[in-house]
């Protein structure tokens, strides 16, 4: 009889973490490096190029001429000043309105809160470009409907409102920053422990004093973080300064770069645009750095405790209805009035102030024109392909990056996390310019990227993957490793774990990032204006921009009205699947 050796094997299951430095970890890192570093490298090189055009770039033509010209030009300092004022002013206005709205809905007994909860995030559906265009129609000095009504009414010789210039830009951009700030501030208000306010009240402090000395001070770190975030976003603003600033010669960095590239006269000065963009980039990166510092330190000011509580609502007394009116006024200024104005002009044969004659001349002809124009169909198709492609790509790449960052022991995952956040601080117009150089140079090697739909998909993916990974990081962290381990112990392969465990659980995050990306990509004009090339990859935002610039206001009204309705549906989708949940009543 032969002895039988019974081999006892340990149960086979994989480590809960993905193995260190799998090939695809390296591949993800390389991809992110290529996506982030390559365009910036070309941007920097291009800023020293003295060649007439990017394709004529060579190392023998490098020099400091562009910097000398840009820095030696006094108008650059005016642009710098305008940019800072624009970003500061619009941030301040937006934060004040958003804080007030958040406070009203969270901490007071204002009636009709549900409408404000629902309405404010929906203002995300209004693209800044269309908002600004509508306000031009309302408040430009001579043709603005408001001015046209007010001047004869009060016997004024000059228009009382002028939407063009820095103040108009700040007003509209300020309105635009409200929904995001509101969504960020509502949870802050909601989660604040009221015992400190109650203690102040017990000590005899008046409500206004409590608000100033306790509530606001407790919220200050959070508000500062939101402010810096909004400041960075406003720095990037292109559409509003483009519509309201360019006609009056009020430039901010983004519009100055655009103007240099699209001068009505002469050839584009690509090198100068790059030199300006570098300065712009530095300002944006410093702001983002400050933001990350504030966020890192904000834990010291924790105001959420483990104790259960329910915030006490402040009674507004006779101010309840005026408060609601003020909140509704914001919604009217931000969405309702611009929408009605664009809808009005969309039915006109040519631009005219509201009158019986104007209403009598209304027809569907602008809509007929839009629907019967083949190229609009092509543009719409490009828009769908590019935005859906970018959204899908952003979800996939963000998921893979986050998986490496959160679930692996890959040594470079920290670097990866930082790298992927860099595009967040790069303004869209700068990234567009950087990618223009990169694509043109890479096309010399037969890649054929410039002027294609893929070029815009890549541009959007690079821009939005910062946001995508922030969301995915948080979502993946919430999935306990036990789930993976259980599946793996049951013999599930890695891909099956992904497909059966991660995907279903992460579906809300996937949808949220997807819809968020579509919403932002569909209305962004900065990158597409630089990277689009005719029917090959022109998107709706570029068509609207060009039509407005060329005076086809009525057609813009028709396209804009339809676009806003579609975006409204998408925003509702974002609320259902994504990140508006925190603000629900």
């Amino acid at each position: 009889m032969t002895a039988t050796t019974l081999e006892v094997r340990a149960p086979r299951f994989r480590l809960p973490r993905i193995r260190t430095a799998s090939w695809w970890h390296v591949a993800v890192l390389v991809l992110v490096i290529l996506a982030v570093v390559t365009p910036i490298a070309f941007l920097v090189l291009g800023s020293f190029s003295q060649a007439r055009l990017p394709a004529e770039f060579s190392f023998s033509t490098l020099g400091l001429t562009n910097y000398v010209k840009v820095w030696g030009d006094r108008s650059t300092y005016q642009v710098f000043s305008n940019t800072v004022w624009f970003a500061t002013g619009s941030t301040a206005l937006g934060i004040v309105i958003a804080s007030l709205l958040a406070w009203l809905v969270e901490r007071t007994n204002m009636p009709g809160k549900i409408w404000i909860y629902a309405g404010v995030p929906l203002t995300l559906a209004m693209p800044g470009m269309l908002q600004a265009m509508a306000w031009v129609l309302l408040a430009s000095p001579r043709i603005g409907f408001l001015n046209a009504a007010l001047m004869p009414m009060f016997g004024l010789k000059t228009a009382p409102i002028n939407i063009y210039g820095l103040s108009g830009m700040i007003f509209i951009e300020g309105l635009r920053t409200v929904p995001t700030a509101f969504l960020m501030l509502v949870p802050l208000m909601r989660s604040m422990d009221p015992s400190l306010e109650e203690a102040a009240a017990t000590c005899g402090a008046r409500p206004s004093s409590t608000l100033r000395k306790v509530t606001l001070r407790l919220m200050l770190p959070g508000i500062v973080a939101v402010m810096i975030y909004q400041f960075t976003a406003a720095l990037e603003g292109f559409e509003v300064p483009g519509i309201l600033g360019l006609p009056s010669g009020t430039y901010v960095f983004s519009t100055k770069i655009y103007s240099v590239l699209n001068a009505a006269t002469g050839l584009p000065a690509y090198g100068e645009a790059n030199a300006l963009a570098i300065l712009y980039l530095v300002v944006a990166i410093v702001s983002t750095y400050l933001y990350s510092r504030v966020i890192a330190k904000s834990e010291r000011f924790s105001i959420i405790t483990g104790k259960g509580y329910r915030p006490r609502l402040m009674g507004l007394g006779g101010w309840r209805w005026p408060a609601l009116s003020m909140a509704l006024l914001y919604l009217a200024l931000s969405v309702l009035i611009p929408f009605l104005v664009l809808a009005y002009v969309s039915f006109l044969p040519f631009l005219q102030a509201p009158s019986l004659k104007a209403f009598a001349s209304m027809s569907w002809s602008n809509y007929d024109t839009v629907f019967s124009t083949d190229s609009i169909g092509t543009t719409l198709w490009n828009t769908i392909v590019i935005t859906f492609g970018a959204a899908t790509g952003t979800v996939i790449i963000s998921f893979l990056i986050s998986l490496v960052i959160v679930r692996s022991k890959f040594k470079a995952r920290g670097v990866l996390d930082q790298l992927v956040f860099i595009p967040h601080s790069i303004p869209g117009i700068v990234m567009g310019l950087a990618l223009l150089w990169a694509f043109l140079e890479l096309d010399n090697y037969g890649l054929g990227l410039f002027g294609t739909q893929l070029s815009l998909v890549i541009a959007f993916m690079i821009g939005y993957m910062s946001y995508g990974t922030r969301v995915m990081n948080a979502a993946i962290m919430q999935i306990h490793k036990e789930l993976e381990e259980a599946a793996q112990m049951s013999g599930a392969r890695q891909w099956r774990v992904m497909w059966r465990i991660f995907c279903p659980l992460l579906m809300p995050a996937f949808f949220g990032v997807w819809i968020w990306t579509v919403l932002h990509a569909v209305r962004a004009a900065g990158k597409p204006l630089i990277l689009s090339d005719g029917t090959n990859n022109e998107v709706l935002a570029v068509t609207i921009w060009n039509m407005w610039d060329e005076g086809y206001v009525e057609a813009v009204g028709a396209i804009g009205t339809m676009m806003m309705l579609v975006l409204l549906v998408l925003t509702l989708g974002l609320r259902l699947f994504g990140f508006g949940r925190g603000a629900k009543a």
Binding site: E56, T265, L267, L351, T373, G534
Partner: protein
């Protein structure tokens, strides 16, 4: 030699602004339905298309090649709706050629295709209105010699490049558009000097875009330096117009809306489009009347060379030229179609002197104009114009 230099003076060599003459050759026997409708709408006799069959004769291999290519990519400044209307007869003749048309600003229609070309890619077949970028295309050796296209010879010498790298496609009469509700007819300037002497136009009632090359250079050349300097200085310092960054089309929309009462320069053909919609706008011109040319070029290595050839040849034919007028009121460049019936606001043009630029002195004159214009423009907050830029749109 610049585009403006080459075309300048060409109109003088044509039978300019005649009434519709009787044509010796017979009208074509078969015409596309779209052409018949076009002629009926314009109240033109089919005999105006005499010789069309010969004009449209092209080598069979072009047609076979175009059939394989199946598309043509054009970028220019027509509105998309106008392009569709214009191209209807072409599509009946060549239904196998799909139209991929896009409208673009000058930077889009010229610079982006050029950048792509320099990186080894050809994104479009045909470009209309290259403006100042023409020299870059020429330097890059990017343009096809159009002299092989039969229709090239339909365009008078001077409205086409001697070397065939571009060909004129349509004329532009640039002058002044005004709001008919705001401007009484007796306030319209009878001479260019009236613009400055009449207080009606002062303090922002006039809108000015940064395109002196479309009108001022022409008039300046006609009246001389002393007049030019005095007129321009008074225009900025006394009349004080609104200086605007908008494009010329947008300027017309602003005139209609009343942002300013008159706009210079305003194109007659564009103004006519708004008049046809019932907008309160019209076009007026003191003597002499400035005229410019819009050109067409084809890229080397274009993806659809045969379709592009057919398109260009048709566009330069009588049918193509009349279709263009039918779609957007542009006066034709065809040597047999220099007729007053193709003029918008003919009452403002016929009988008046036309201001061409002196081809010999053009560059010198352009510099002279900008030397005075740019500081005044910048003084009012605008950006200076590039002295080398002769773009029209």
């Amino acid at each position: 030699m610049t585009i403006s230099k080459l075309f300048a003076g060409a109109l003088a060599s044509c039978a300019v602004l005649m009434s519709v003459p009787a044509f010796a050759q017979e009208a074509p026997k078969q015409l596309p339905a779209a052409t018949k409708k076009m002629l009926a709408d314009l109240k033109l006799d089919p005999s105006i298309l005499s010789g069309l069959d010969d004009e449209l004769k092209v080598p069979q291999e072009w047609i076979d090649g175009a059939r394989k290519e199946g598309a043509v990519k054009v970028i220019s400044s027509w509105d998309v709706g106008q392009y569709k209307k214009m191209i209807a007869p072409f599509l009946e003749r060549y239904p196998f050629i799909k139209q991929e048309y896009s409208r673009g600003s000058r930077q889009e229609r010229a610079m982006k295709p050029l950048l792509a070309y320099q990186s080894g890619r050809v994104l479009v077949d045909l470009i209309g209105g290259m403006g100042a970028a023409y020299a870059l295309f020429r330097d890059a050796g990017a343009l096809v010699d159009l002299r092989e296209i039969p229709g090239f010879n339909n365009v008078p010498v001077g409205m086409r490049d001697e070397d065939g790298s571009w060909v004129g496609q349509r004329l532009r009469y640039w002058c002044m558009a005004y709001n008919t509700d705001k401007v009484p007819k007796d306030q319209l300037p009878k001479t260019w000097d009236d613009l400055n002497s009449n207080p009606f136009w002062r303090d922002g009632k006039l809108g000015l875009s940064n395109r002196p090359n479309l009108w001022l250079s022409n008039v300046w050349a006609e009246y001389g330096d002393d007049w030019g300097k005095a007129f321009t200085t008074k225009l900025f310092n006394e009349t004080k117009p609104q200086i605007r960054k908008e494009g010329n089309n947008s300027m017309l929309a602003l005139v209609i809306a009343g942002e300013f009462y008159g706009a210079i320069p305003g194109a007659a053909y564009r103004t006519r489009q708004y008049v046809d919609k019932g907008a309160p706008i019209s076009w007026h011109c003191p003597e002499p009347i400035p005229v410019a040319l819009s050109e067409l070029a084809m890229l080397k290595g274009s993806p659809d060379p045969n379709a592009a050839r057919l398109w260009t040849n048709w566009s330069l034919s009588k049918e193509g030229q009349i279709a263009q007028f039918y779609a957007e009121n542009s006066p034709p460049v065809h040597k047999d179609l220099q007729l007053d019936v193709f003029l918008s606001f003919r009452d403002q043009i016929v009988g008046k002197k036309i201001a061409y630029q002196n081809p010999v002195k053009l560059d010198e004159e352009q510099q002279q104009v900008l030397k005075v214009w740019n500081p005044l423009w910048e003084g009012m907050g605008g950006q200076a114009r590039d002295p080398n830029d002769e773009s029209s749109e």
